[in-house]
Every structure is written in structure tokens, then in C-alpha cells.
Symmetry: C2
Subunit: 193 residues, 2 copies
DNA sequence: GTCTATATTCGGATAGAC
DNA sequence: GTCTATCCGAATATAGAC
């Protein structure tokens, strides 16, 4: 069907979607019109509709693209880093990939509205919890020298995911936020009795 | 100017806005049309525009209404309750007032887009941190018997606000969330060395 | 494959009667 | 103050030429 190579098609799709994402970050998904995207991408209406059947499909693709994060594989020797430092690297990586953490908050806002988006965020949630469980196990064992590290890791993983979400939210929607102090606090807490 | 009492005007405004909020919870702010609100409220276009100049003003009022939470005054003797329990009560109160925690997530999504909404959420953020600082001071002093309770309270308040935000997010946009285990974990962590 | 021009639908807001 | 009917602009998607 396609008269050009698959690579060319993929490149075009990426071109379109990155232009769209730039606008989404500034204006939000719904407030961004196809006309905006056409102008930002430098293409024409006809061209864009050749790659995406509808605006909705484009938005869904953008969300998937944003959520399908290639979480930088932790390099193992990071195990001894305290949670706050790990979190900082994680969030920095997130910010680099998405360009703007506000996009993530927007995706959450969308996820409460439709099942498709919610499924996508749920998948990420599971991955995040697994990553944190793995890291925390190492931290509790090697960093703090606790015995039941694995159980503790599983148990506290959702909490650290929440702490990370809290960081992102306070950074983007609250004022007066001292991120360093927050990460410091996240490093210092310990499982109690 | 008004031919009816102020009470009547206020009641009508409330009537309109609660109808709108019901729809916002289901469909989101932008996807809800004035026609929807007209139908849901049982009033007419003319009537509604008599109370709100524009849809935008209505949306902003709804957000303010939602955020202007009359946080149930903690009754003092709650001081000995662990953080997870305090958080549960807080969130239950929030849910009762807003009707749907998803609305809060939507508001956050909006707050990254415009300054007006961001100002509103920032104000709430400050109040939340102050409340948590106050509670934590009591908890650290009376519950855990720590000496520098006040400093600790100030220091960890943003973290607990974040933990609460994380709870709300994971409850609304992630699947497989064990809220009880999360609150339990929030109760158990302690300030470390 | 991509462009320009346009058909069509939809939503916010207003006008004027009651 | 409230209703009905309607105007106007905007936005999505398509048609048809190149």
C-alpha cells in the first residue's frame, strides 16, 4: 500500500507527533486544534490525515508515546544510592524524555476520564512499582543492612511511587516547593517497627 | 440591580454549579458543553448566562468551589492517630466534599495549563502543608515521643502531602492499588538519622 | 503523498418575547 | 428573570487537483 518506505512513514509519524506534543505541553490536549498542529508541523491537513485517521487517534498515540518510557536501566551499582537520589535521577530521566513533566499531570487528568488512557497509565504503574520494589530491596539490604529486605521492598514500593508522584505534582502545580528538601526527606525515612 | 434576594441568587448559582460539577466528574471540563449543563440543570440558556457570563467563568467557579474545602477541623484528640489513619480521614473528608476524587486529578491537569488555576491550587497546597506540619508535630511529640517534634513536622509535611497525592493518583488512575497497605506503610515510616 | 479549498457539524453566546 | 430561537465562529474531516 505505502509507496514510500516504512522508515519514511515512521519518521513522518514521529515528526507529526513531536510537533503535536510540543503544543500539548503548552495548551493541553483538547485546546490544541488540528490547525495548530498543521501549522506547527509545517505540513498540510491532507498530509496529517494520511498518517492519523483522526485527532483522537493522534492524541492517543501521543499519550502512548509519552508513557512508553524507556526507563534508563539502573546500572546496578546505583543500589547504594539513597531513595531521594534515586528518585532525582528517575525524575530527571522522565523530564528529559517527556520534555515537560506537566504533560504527565495532564495524562493523569485524562486517565480519570477514559478507560483507554487509564489502561495505559495502569501498565506504567505496575512497571514503576516493580522497579521500585527491586531498587528498595537492594537499598534495604545493602544500604541499610536490613534482613527482610525483599518483603520490605515489595511493601514500600507503592509508597515511593506515591512520593514520586507527589514530587511531580508539587513541582508542577504548587508554588513554594523545595524539591531538594523533599528528596532529602524521602531519603531519610525508614521502615519503623 | 437584582430583583430577587441575594439568597435566591446564591441558591441558583449553587444549583447551576452542582449540576455542572456532576457533569465535569463524568466528562471532564472541556468535553462538557453548555448544552449539557443546561439540560442537567433543568434551566435554560438565558437563565444560566444570567448567573455566569461565560463557560470559562463557570469552570473557574467550579474549580474554586471544589478547592475551597472546609477541611474538617481535626478534633485535637486525633493527635495520637498514626499518619495513615489521619490520611484516611482526610481523604474520606475530601471525597465526601468533592463527590469524586477524580475531579481533583482533573483540576491538577488544568493547573499545569493556566496561571489562574495554578494560583488556586497553590493556595490549597500551602494550607495542606500547614495542616500536616501541625499534625505531624503532635504525632512526633505525643505519638512517638521525639524531642525536636516541631522541626520534624515542618520538614516532613511536604512529604506527607505528596504521599497523600500519591494515594489519590494511584487510587484513581492506576489499577491493582491496595489502599490499606499504602496507608499502613505511611503509618510505619519514621524519620531516620 | 501532499496540497488547497471547502463542506458540515457543533458549541458558545445573544436577542427579543414573555 | 427566564425562555426559545438563532447567529456566528471555530474546528474536524474530506474532496479533488497536482
Amino acid at each position: 500500500m505505502p509507496k514510500v518506505t516504512q522508515e519514511h512513514r515512521d519518521a513522518r509519524r514521529r515528526e507529526i507527533i513531536t510537533a503535536a506534543i510540543r503544543l500539548f505541553a503548552r495548551q493541553g490536549f483538547q485546546a490544541t486544534s488540528m490547525a495548530d498542529i498543521i501549522a506547527e508541523s509545517g505540513l498540510s491537513a491532507g498530509a496529517i490525515y494520511g498518517y492519523y485517521k483522526s485527532k483522537d487517534e493522534l492524541v492517543q498515540s501521543a499519550m502512548t508515546e509519552l508513557l512508553d518510557l524507556r526507563f534508563a536501566a539502573r546500572s546496578g551499582d546505583d543500589a547504594a544510592l539513597p531513595p531521594g537520589e534515586t528518585m532525582r535521577r528517575f525524575i530527571t530521566g522522565l523530564d528529559d524524555e517527556m520534555g515537560d513533566l506537566g504533560l504527565l499531570v495532564q495524562v493523569w487528568g485524562q486517565a480519570v476520564l477514559d478507560q483507554t488512557s487509564r489502561d495505559a497509565t495502569a501498565r506504567i504503574g505496575d512497571r514503576l512499582r516493580a522497579i521500585w520494589a527491586s531498587y528498595l530491596t537492594e537499598w534495604y539490604r545493602d544500604g541499610l543492612g536490613l534482613s527482610n529486605a525483599e518483603q520490605l521492598g515489595e511493601r514500600f514500593a507503592p509508597l515511593y511511587v506515591g512520593i514520586m508522584q507527589g514530587y511531580i505534582l508539587q513541582m508542577t502545580v504548587f508554588g513554594n516547593f523545595d524539591g531538594e528538601a523533599y528528596l532529602e526527606a524521602a531519603s531519610v525515612i525508614r521502615p519503623g517497627p
